[in-house]
């Protein structure tokens, strides 16, 4: 199927999906925390755009609310909070040395392929656009995990975590035109609480180990010293 044959809405969704995927890649390779947070905010913004687009074209009003929630939470509140933390901790000049950056990037790329591969069986029963969107969101989820695995900073972990949420949200909007309102509200509430808790935890971790490097949190283990 040629992309030119699709309607404008679908084309737009696919382009946005590509952009969202791109932001995930950008985050994966990003060693500077402030830029990381910025890219994350971008991803949130793309998500908001997608939601608005979907709401408009499907004429689904509650998606507007979702869009607003996304905007407030993912684009404004969380990046703001993280940025404040980073500045407060005086970490904005640090560059995290990423091991095997190329390998990670290549792994990320193969994850994308893998996502398509996994979701292939669904293709018979649904429009291609959904498959593509789902595949992108799955790869965003997986890339988010990869981000957390490859980064040592607690801030990066939060970003990764939130980017996984973004991926899920993207899937929910594109593939299913949004979840039921009550669920969305619940999810948003959870994200909000989680964000607040993250803030609290940064404080605790900092007072406890004087750093936000999660590799230092390794007292509880089963390995013989």
């Amino acid at each position: 199927m040629n992309i030119a044959e699709l309607d404008f809405y679908t084309q737009a969704i696919l382009s946005l999906a590509a952009l969202v995927g791109l932001t995930s890649f950008l985050m994966l390779g990003q060693g500077r925390l402030l830029r990381l947070i910025f890219v994350f905010a971008m991803q949130g913004f793309l998500l908001t755009l997608t939601t608005v687009l979907a709401a408009y074209s499907l004429n689904n009003h509650h998606l507007y609310i979702s869009a607003v929630l996304t905007l407030v939470l993912k684009v404004i509140f969380i990046p703001w909070m993280l940025r404040r933390q980073v500045l407060h901790m005086n970490m904005h000049r640090d560059i995290e040395a990423l091991n095997n950056k190329t390998t990670v990037m290549l792994g990320g790329a193969s994850l994308m392929v893998f996502s398509y591969y996994v979701l292939q069986p669904i293709v018979q029963s649904s429009p291609v656009v959904m498959l593509n969107a789902l595949a992108v969101s799955l790869s965003v989820v997986l890339l988010g995990m990869l981000l957390m695995i490859s980064h040592r900073q607690a801030v990066a972990h939060v970003v990764g975590f939130m980017s996984i949420e973004n991926g899920l949200f993207f899937a929910a909007i594109v593939a299913t035109n949004g979840m039921p309102m009550v669920v969305e509200l619940g999810v948003a509430f959870d994200v909000l609480v989680a964000a607040v808790l993250f803030g609290i935890f940064f404080l605790h971790i900092r007072t406890s180990i004087d750093s936000l490097d999660v590799d230092l949190l390794n007292k509880l283990n089963e390995v013989d010293k």
Partner: protein, 708 residues
């Protein structure tokens, strides 16, 4: 009616356990009785003094201990009655108790086999309950609360009885484990000793592993059956491979409990550390319950036995018998020694059961019945004399505070009654004629000698060898118990404690032992009494009894036919009495030859001391050299030198440690294996959250890959 007796036995033992829990509730009881008396003052006036007396602070513990053991004793008596009545009536009684799983109530079945083991337990429990009150008095209530001891004793006994009653796999396992767990607590009773804790741990571990094997065995049967009741399991049609698997599992499980070499390790650890009357029950009775389980499983549930199984039992039994007694011989600790000797006796029982299976599978049911009879009789006898010996060991420990036989000596003069009773036990266990141990061993030999009817060359040559090994076992047992009796009771006291020891004052403790000693002798002289009963068991289980040679009657024991072999212990007793009487009369008639006492001949050096006597390790030294490979012997002699050139020996220290092979060969590798595995597996938990995320990620990828 008979079943009511059996239930009474179970309930009474349970009640005795629960009653023991009241030990610390004196104040509550007092308040309760006050309340009760206040409610109806006139009618209960006469009880007032009784209640006040029994609840008085000093009296109460004594009263309660008595009451607990009285209940236990009644439980024993009821068990005996139930066993006797089912054995004589030859009925099979079934019942259901609406406990257990919703679709599987507890099935109860009381037949001759259960009845016979009821009898064993009943006798042992009765003796123990006579013995108990005196023995437990010495425990300090703060450190060794009677509540725990009494509770778990009651549960232990009721567990054993319930095992015998169980008629479905689930109920059987519950009762079985109740027995194990309750006895575990008894082993751990004096837990301030690290040795006790270790023993208890090993015991429970082995019990658990054994129980799992048994469950699996039942499971194999059940997978060919329609359900879990024994009736359904009996009806299961197994291929011979599956039947053999079930047999091996059951053998592992029950053999572990029974203490078969090489899985006997827990037994010499656990039995000795429990209080003596409990050791008596564990060694004398609980092992029998394991044998009951094996018999029930193989002869009853599987039904169709194979001669190969019999061979396995025979070989294992032979090794256990020899190994058990050889290990026993090296023990300086009296109770450990007795525990090892239980391994030996269980080995003998297994041997004979194996013979029975071999004959059964080869189509000689009468001979199978003979072997079966010998096995059950030996189980019965072993219960009697091992109980007796453990109770005796308890008395000795109670009076001398010693268990090391190298620290005893000369007790025969200080504890004359105990020494008599102990001697009876030693003679029975050494299978000397006129005592019960001999009868069962004689029957075992008779069974083995029937090998001529078999066709299989392997069996024809192996069984006689096993018989010779049995002879060796018996001779070694005699040597071992000569050592035991000789070192404990004869000679001069080797320690201050045994020098100051005196006869036990508690009549109950002696009475309990006396009961068993009397039975040992009674069934040594009139084995026919018990054999008739066992014959009924064989008849019910194997469908075949011994040919009852009516011409010979109760006086004679002629298992196959009078032509082949016979034994008349009463006549032997009469003959012995005559011979001894005549010689005694003849020699004593001359008044001028009255005995004179003098100092022991000391070769003219002067000053024999108790240190010059043979010790346990000295006595067994020839055996240690001859059978050196059986043990792991660590022998060290340290000399302190002094004087010019350091050539004079100032002091010599001798250190001897004799260890069982099965520890380092079988158990330590397993233990190490588990620890190493744990170490390796522990490495997955690095403590690093990124690694953990990696696991999550990898799992996700893997799963997705798997399904697509």
């Amino acid at each position: 009616m008979i079943l009511v007796l059996a239930y009474c036995a179970v309930l009474l033992s349970f009640a005795s356990g629960v009653l023991a829990l009241l030990m610390h509730q004196r104040h509550n009881l007092l308040a309760l009785s006050r309340y009760w008396l206040k409610k109806s003052p006139e009618s209960n006036e006469k009880y007032q003094s009784v209640i006040d007396n029994s609840l008085e602070e000093k009296q109460f513990p004594i009263f309660l201990r008595q009451a607990v053991f009285v209940l236990l004793g009644f439980s024993g008596i009821f068990a005996v009655l139930a066993g006797m009545s089912v054995l004589t009536s030859k009925e099979i009684i079934t019942d259901q108790i609406s406990l257990g799983l919703p679709w599987l109530p507890w099935h109860v079945r009381f037949d001759s086999l259960s009845g016979f083991f009821f009898l064993i337990i009943g006798i042992a429990v009765s003796a123990v309950s006579l013995y108990g009150p005196g023995y437990v008095k010495s425990y300090d209530e703060n450190h060794h609360p009677f509540a725990a001891l009494g509770l778990f004793t009651g549960l232990f006994v009721s567990g054993m009885l319930l095992v015998l009653l169980a008629d479905d796999a689930f109920f059987f396992m519950i009762a079985w484990e109740l027995m194990s767990v309750a006895s575990y607590f008894l082993v751990a009773f004096q837990h301030e000793n690290p040795a006790n804790r270790r023993a208890a741990f090993i015991y429970l571990l082995m019990a658990e592993v054994g129980a799992l094997a048994i469950i699996l065995g039942f499971g194999v049967l059940a997978s060919f059956a329609t359900g879990f009741t024994f009736d359904e399991l009996r009806a299961a049609e197994l291929s011979s491979t599956w039947a053999s698997i079930a047999f091996v599992l059951a053998l592992t499980g029950f053999g572990m409990k029974a203490g078969i070499v090489p899985v006997h390790v827990w037994l010499p650890e656990a039995h000795p550390v429990a209080p003596s009357h409990i050791s008596a029950l564990m060694s004398g009775v609980m092992l029998k319950v394991a044998i009951y389980g094996l018999i029930r499983f193989c002869f009853d549930l599987i039904g169709e036995v194979h001669w190969q199984w019999g061979l396995v039992l025979l070989v294992l039994g032979t090794f256990s018998a020899l190994g058990g007694i050889l290990y026993a011989m090296m023990q300086p600790n009296l109770k450990r020694l007795l525990a090892y000797s239980s391994v030996e006796n269980v080995g003998i029982i297994f041997m004979v059961l194996g013979l029975s299976m071999i004959f059964m599978a080869n189509g000689h049911p009468q001979l199978a019945a003979l072997g079966f009879l010998a096995a059950l009789l030996h189980a019965f006898n072993h219960a009697l004399f091992k109980n007796l010996l453990f109770l005796g060991a308890g008395i000795i420990h109670h009076q001398t505070h010693e268990l090391n036989i190298d620290m005893m000596g000369g007790l025969i003069k200080r504890m004359p009654q105990t020494s008599m009773l102990f001697l009876v036990g030693c003679m029975s266990i050494s299978s000397l004629p006129l005592f019960n141990g001999f009868v069962s061993e004689w029957l075992a030999f008779q069974t083995a000698l029937q090998v001529d009817v078999l066709d299989n060359g392997v069996l024809r040559s192996l069984i006689p060898v096993a018989a010779a090994a049995l002879a060796l076992t018996a001779a070694l047992a005699a040597a071992c118990f000569v050592k035991v009796f000789g070192l404990i009771f004869l000679g001069q006291p080797r320690s201050h404690h045994s020098d100051k020891a005196h006869e036990i004052q508690d009549k109950g403790m002696l009475a309990g032992s006396m009961l068993l000693a009397g039975l040992c002798f009674l069934f040594g002289i009139f084995p026919g009494l018990i054999i008739t009963l066992i014959n009924g068991v064989a008849g019910q289980l194997l469908g075949e009894t011994l040919p009852n040679d009516a011409a010979l009657g109760w006086l004679w024991l002629a298992p196959v036919s009078a032509k082949q072999a016979s034994y008349a212990p009463p006549l032997v007793l009469i003959g012995a009495l005559i011979a001894a009487g005549v010689s005694f009369w003849y020699l004593r008639r001359n008044p001028s030859t009255v005995m004179r006492r003098a100092e022991t001949w000391d070769c003219g050096f002067g000053g024999l001391t108790s240190k010059m006597q043979y010790s346990s390790s000295a006595f067994t030294m020839p055996f240690r050299r001859i059978f050196a490979k059986v043990w792991m012997i660590d022998e060290q002699i340290d000399k302190d030198m002094q004087g010019a050139m350091n050539q004079d020996v100032a002091a010599v220290r001798y250190h001897l440690q004799v260890q069982d092979h099965s520890w380092p060969r079988l158990y330590q590798p397993i233990e190490r294996g588990v620890n190493n595995t744990a170490k390796v597996v522990g490495r997955i938990q690095t403590g690093n959250i990124r690694t953990y995320l990696g696991y999550s990620f990898a799992t996700l990828i893997l799963m997705l890959w798997v399904i697509s």
